[in-house]
Symmetry: C2
Subunit: 591 residues, 2 copies
């Protein structure tokens, strides 16, 4: 069985040393938030993940879910684990105290999310979207809807789903066909088929609240004619308890590459009763409240899986004896050296570390921006933080999910043939990681969101939230020899990013196809610069603390990042500069 210990020390570093999350204390309602409060919470979260969830990860993958007579049976142990999750109060962590929540900020919940993804991603998919449903209802629901649904979502007795995709439409929601007809009592009858619905049906909660995109009869065509509806599996009775069964049911389970213990359902709505959430035809905007939150969480999935893969790769590399270290035996008393001694194995492990710890710092910083946006009473500061969160969301989603895929594959490689067999779970981490590049908008869609929406919005206002502070940071440190090895390559890569941003904007104005041609590589380059900023900052923190092993490792990892990973930006830049000429010139028939 794979091992997992939550990386609490590094989470502490990312939150309180690197991101500077103590700044939250200055905001109303956040006065109590600090490491002293958060650490015990995260320790409790770690215990839950390590003791309850890890053990169900392999068995859940092997068993999968079963659909019988419309009911989904989750793998053995999942129901008990969910009960423990509820009893621990974990669903309420980042929810409003007005609805029974604990009122903790995103900076804390994001670290808990990482742990769940490390321990058992498939389990995490059940409560995973409930918080999104909570957020969407809280932002767009009526007072009655909030009073009825939010306490149930917050205490975890009910779960939530997002029902967007249909067989013929995923990315292009303008094509969707599910329709909503008004009933006399103010509710609607929802009819249509939704696919790829995570946790669409299961046996963990007493009710399931579907948020469904559908079209009213008189709605305009395309994406401007989509409304959002709340469709509970059981219609709440007068006391707010689950009452009559609604006309929504799981028609099939998908058989997937990974997250097999997560029930991915085809959901049939057959005149199901639903209630409008927000204004008619404004459903996409309301859904985006949920979607942005979900996108960040999907990025965290990549981080969590990379972390658990790393831990298991290291454990194997310490134990497995094979060959002799080049340049001199590491364990001459043993029949062979641990493979940890081999340079190529160390390269793989340090590559993983550099991506993982860099991503964790960026996750902490982004979560902090989201918290500030939600709590800062100063509108300008709140807007600035909101811009930063919005800008970084597609980057975190795509960069981290790509990273999760690449790093779990690297972790598996450390185990050689043992990585390919199911017993060790390393291949499960890879299969589980693969979905994050696809769902909640493929990574290509994230790149278009960055280049086509976030970049140009408000005359590039969001970009400036990243560019200006970074310009100031590097300028303030120019010519300081002790950190020049970090600041100089960061400034250089950042200059490249700035130049390419202007270039891509210019080309995109002339022909939007050109912006699309470079979007994915631009996002990756942006992500590398964002990680370089984190690592330069971390190096500065670590440099004066070299008597402690933690900071020595941090500094060495920073150096590895700058010398071995950041240089990838040059190839990306060359490809972006080359533009879309070949993509355009190649004839459709010739593919």
């Amino acid at each position: 069985m794979p091992i997992y210990k939550a990386p609490l020390r590094d989470m502490h570093f990312a939150l309180w040393e690197a991101a500077g999350a103590a700044a939250l204390r200055a905001l109303p309602g956040m006065e109590e938030i600090g490491a002293d409060l958060a650490t015990p919470v995260l320790e409790g979260a770690a215990a839950f993940c390590e003791e309850v969830l890890v053990a169900l990860n392999r068995t859940g993958d092997e068993e999968g879910c079963v659909l019988e007579n419309g009911a989904v049976r989750t793998p053995r142990g999942f129901a008990e684990a969910y009960r423990a999750y509820r009893e621990g109060g974990w669903p309420a962590l980042a929810c409003d105290t007005a609805f029974g929540g604990q009122g903790l900020p995103k900076i804390v919940s994001v670290m808990f999310e990482e742990m769940i993804c490390s321990a058992n991603l498939a389990f995490g998919r059940y409560p995973g979207l409930t918080h999104g449903v909570y957020s969407a209802l809280r932002a767009h629901g009526t007072g009655a809807q909030k009073a009825l649904y939010l306490p149930k979502l917050v205490d975890g007795s009910w779960a939530g789903t997002m029902c967007l995709t249909e067989p013929h439409c995923g990315t292009d929601l303008g094509l969707l066909r599910t329709r909503a007809e008004p009933a006399r009592d103010g509710s609607y009858r929802i009819t249509g088929t939704k696919i790829f619905i995570s946790a669409g049906e299961h046996d963990l909660t007493e009710n399931i609240v579907h948020l469904v995109l559908a079209r009213l009869a008189d709605a305009p065509g395309g994406s401007r004619g989509i409304s959002l509806f709340l469709v509970p599996k059981f219609i709440p009775d007068a006391q707010g308890n689950p009452g009559a069964r609604n006309a929504v049911a799981a028609g099939a389970l998908e058989h997937k590459m990974g997250i097999k213990a997560s029930a991915t359902c085809v959901m049939n709505f057959d005149g199901a009763t639903g209630w409008l959430v927000g204004a008619p035809n404004k459903g996409l905007a309301a859904m985006f409240t949920m979607m942005n939150e979900a996108r960040l969480s999907v990025g965290i999935q990549g981080l969590g899986l990379a972390e658990v893969s790393y831990q298991n790769a290291v454990a194997y590399a310490r134990e497995r004896l094979q060959g002799r270290r080049l340049g001199g035996a590491a364990a001459p008393d043993k029949p062979a050296d641990p493979i940890l001694a081999h340079p190529d194995v160390r390269r793989m492990l340090l590559t993983m570390r550099a991506w993982i710890e860099g991503s964790r710092m960026l996750a902490a910083r982004t979560a902090l921006a989201i918290d500030i946006a939600a709590h800062d009473p100063d509108p300008a500061r709140a807007q600035a933080a909101g811009d930063e969160g919005a800008l970084m969301t597609p980057i975190v989603k795509a960069l981290f999910s790509d990273m999760g895929w690449e790093m779990t594959a690297l972790g598996m490689q450390v185990l050689g043939g043992h990585g390919y067999i199911r017993e060790w779970a390393m291949e499960q981490f890879v299969r589980d990681a693969r979905i994050a590049q696809i769902y909640e908008g493929t990574n290509g869609v994230q790149a278009l969101d960055l280049v086509g929406r976030k970049m140009p919005a408000h005359g590039g206002r969001a970009l400036r939230r990243f560019f200006h502070p970074l310009s100031e940071w590097t300028a303030a440190r120019a010519g300081r020899p002790e950190i020049a090895e970090f600041v100089e390559p960061l400034a250089k890569a950042f200059g490249r990013l700035q130049g390419l941003t202007a270039e891509l904007a210019r080309r995109g104005l002339a022909d939007p196809f050109e912006a699309g041609a470079g979007a994915s590589e631009y996002l990756r380059l942006f992500g590398l610069v964002a990680l370089a900023r984190e690592w330069a900052h971390a190096a500065q923190i670590a440099l004066p603390r070299q008597e402690e092993a933690f900071y020595r490792a941090k500094l060495a990892t920073a150096r590895f990042f700058f010398r071995h990973i950041l240089p990838q930006h040059t190839g990306l830049a060359a490809s972006i500069v080359a533009g879309g000429a070949e993509l355009r010139a190649f004839a459709d028939a010739d593919f």
Copy 2:
């Protein structure tokens, strides 16, 4: 069900236009070899793969193999497909006519191998190692062994395996414990456990011939004390027919990430009767005859899977309607454009094409070198070609298998959520591709083979087989404006490779750890330059033929490679130059 059509036109280009395989005709025994002979053979191979193997790929993955009472049952249809494979004479393709083979060269069989890997990699694993056993016995067996075993291997009635790995030793065969005790009749009793044995046991052939590495009682320790034994499942009787059951049996089947229809066995040798192949304690050298051949084939697996993934991604991209093309609708009469119109989808597909077609050219050139080495009566020319084959083997193995993994993942991404569900098979290609980076020596081991063995051997003789012709080729084309867009970046990347080769050799002499630190990235860089050579050559062929769509597509793909893929070499170069300082500085305890 996935589609597959063998890319016969591009195989023709790779063999006869790019690699210039017609040169073979000048060699004794090869006078008949040309496109006119090879094309019908490859058309027949294509028909077999398309009509018989493709249909069994998904079902084989879902069913897997079953071990009952020591016997392995392959998935439904595999036995019939194997019979058709035998009846078609396919096992004999590249075997000596003296033993019933067809005497066709590697350049033909390598293309057939690619097709099998595209159509059904797991099926291909059954006959896959038989040819290696044939080659090892032909090179090292006694006359009696050859007469008894080779005709059976050539007609496919018997299959072969390679038994190297043990639970505690894979890469480091010096640790192996399986022992061989001489019997009075000149045979040996083999005892030990081997793991990860592809096709170790199955129901496709009447006998299975295991080649087993084991240790004689008086053998020196480590890798110099390993001998090679032939251990048949059924001991041939006086007539050469399968006789008494030998004491070798499958103890378990591995449950793997992919190639699930391939029986990967734990093999228990319990005093099994075996016969020495070659000289005592020279088993590793004899096994390397087989291993080098197998390594090339493993590279081809990546190529075959990338090709079939590409074909299915294109088919989906043509059909799936979603969104509108940036910069103007492509199909204004439809509700949305085919996703083939989107720049990011075209980027993914052209990336796949550039890697796949470049690799196919390199495969053809490498196979030609192997054929020349085997058939050229001039020792100097044969040695030169053999050097080229030896040099390129680890590069093809690692580069192509990495490519297979990366490109199947890209093909899957084109399908979005539909790529992640099993129904479409795109995720199977990814899972099947993953093993090629691991078996027959992990890709890290290939990199060490390149840097530690192939590079320094005979004072760098093998390297010069690559460097000198390429220097001449680029020098002869310097200053020719019509191909400057290819020759100049090729010359630049090649210059970088030459510089880094010298640098890595210098550092490796001072400290072998340094050579190991840069080995994987050096191999990748070498591979990129080798592909750039192929693409520059292809562009030169295609340039004057732009009235034909095939050559227009070839030229556009060449441009894509040079502008969007080759630039990755700069990041690799920077990382290699940075060396192993961080790998060395990082304390073991800090991982």
